[in-house]
Structure formats: C-alpha cells, structure tokens
C-alpha cells in the first residue's frame, strides 16, 4: 500500500516517514508531497491507500485538497488523516465535513500517531 505524506515542512515529512518506517512500512511505499497541488498530481498517477495531510500549506491547502481528492471516484473512501496544528473545535468540524477520516493535532509522538492510524495501515 502506498502512503502519501503531504506537508509543506520538510522536517515534518521526515518525522512522519521515520515513524512509518519504524512501523515497518517500506521506504518506497511512502511518497512525499510539499503541498496539496503536488499531492493531487501524485494521487492521479498512483494508487494511494492512505493520505496523511497537513492543513496549512501554500498553493493548495489541506482542506481544499480533501475536497478535491474526495471528488475523485477512486478516492471516495480512501482513509485521509489530517495531521495539523489547528486545534480549534471549528477546524475539526470543518475537516470532518470535508471528508477526513481522522483528525490528529500536532505535536504528536510517534507511538500515539501509530495508535491512531494503525488500523488503516493494517487494512
């Protein structure tokens, strides 16, 4: 299963990649994107089984990405985990309404993140 990690911070992308690798995900199954626009292009050319997406990004932010990718028939039910610093309740509601499967507030320890997303990795 391919996992697409979408975050404009290179440090965050590396942190997520390391967490996934520690969980046993092969390096080649983890794809990076620095914004939602790049992620859409990658999603169109690959079969992604899980999206980990930040909210605040340049060009196309995480919320708009979720709207756009959910409109693609092949990703109507693919798990999308939003991992963001946006901790306000209204942000969570907005993200869920857009179609995210689960919402995780940064910062989060590796083991806590795996606990949240483990069931999608094993699916």
């Amino acid at each position: 299963m391919k996992i697409l990690v979408i975050d404009d911070s290179a440090v965050m992308r590396r942190i997520h990649r390391n967490i996934l690798k520690e969980r046993g995900i092969a390096d080649q199954d983890i794809i990076d994107a620095e914004d939602g626009q790049v992620a859409l292009e990658i999603a169109a050319k690959n079969t992604i089984g899980l999206f980990l997406v930040d909210w605040n990004m340049p060009r196309l932010d995480g919320l708009d990405f979720v709207h756009r990718v959910r409109a693609m028939e092949s990703y109507a039910k693919t798990p999308i985990i939003m991992i963001t610093s946006e901790a306000a309740r209204y942000n969570v509601v907005e993200a869920i309404q857009a179609g995210v499967t689960n919402y995780v507030v940064k910062p989060i320890k590796g083991e806590a993140l795996i606990e949240k997303i483990g069931k999608y990795l094993d699916a």
Binding site: S9, I15, S85, E86, K106, K109
Partner: protein, 153 residues
C-alpha cells in the same frame, strides 16, 4: 491587549517544549515588550487574521534554535541551515494552531509561517497593538514567545 489572550500561547508553548520535547522549560512573567524589535537572532512569525488580527513570534538564539529543532526532528543539526529554519517555522505553527483551542472569543485563521534571521531585522507588528513577551529558559538557552493580538472591538 488583554492578559487572557496571552495564556493560550503560554500554555501551547509549555505543552510543546516541556510535554512534547521533554525540555526543562521555565516560563518567566510576561511583560510588555518596550522595544518590539528586541528579539533573538532567529525568529519564526505567524500572522493571525479573522475575527481579530495580530501576530505571534517565536524567537531563539542561533544555538538554541539548532538544538531545539534537533530535538524536535530527532536528528542532530550543527548549523543554521534550511531544515533548522523549516523546523522553527513548524514550531511556531504548532504554537499558534494549538493556542486557537483556548482562544474561544473569536475564529482565527493562521498564516503560513515565515522565518527570519540576523541581528537587525524588523518585524512589522500590527499597528497600535502592544507586544507581550513571554520569556522562557531551558537547558538549550533562553527563548521567547511574543504575542500581539487586537482586542475585540
């Protein structure tokens, strides 16, 4: 600017640096920054917009920035390169985003972070709004979180 607007940023900073990164962080008493440009060498800035407006700036000395971002990234950095600056941006992003959960009076949008370095840069703070400095110390050196947020009219 009301004191109650400072606490969410103080609490978010303590959660990040003490609880998440495991640093021995002590916060000092917040004070009005008389010289709004009196910051350390490396600063991450985020603009706040929506039902209020303002800015929040996380400011470190160079070595403190390198060591704290190394802890955050789980990787040892030795110089103030792009990844450290990226990490500073992510840290201020986390503080601002997390503070929103306690700023219940208004809906806020946070900007993308910017990071500036040097000894003589100038921050364009919101005009006419005081800047409150929250000083911190930890084993990697001192740093500060500086908040300027317009009161609700």
């Amino acid at each position: 600017m009301q004191v109650k607007y400072v606490n969410p940023f103080l609490n978010a900073s303590v959660r990040l640096f003490r609880d998440h990164l495991g640093l021995r962080v002590e916060s000092g008493k917040p004070f009005l920054l008389q010289d709004p440009q009196a910051l350390y060498e490396v600063s991450g800035i985020i603009g706040l917009a929506g039902e209020t407006r303002g800015a929040v700036v996380l400011s470190f000395g160079r070595e403190t920035a390198i060591r704290i971002v190394s802890r955050f990234a789980g990787q040892e950095f030795v110089a103030l390169g792009n990844e450290v600056l990226d990490g500073v941006g992510e840290l201020i992003n986390i503080i601002a985003g997390n503070a929103k959960q306690d700023l219940l009076e208004f809906r806020i949008q946070i900007s993308l972070p910017g990071v500036i370095t040097g000894n003589s840069y100038k921050i364009h703070w919101p005009e006419g709004v005081p800047v409150v400095c929250i000083p911190f110390s930890c084993e990697f050196g001192p740093f500060s979180v500086n908040v300027s947020l317009k009161d609700i009219a």
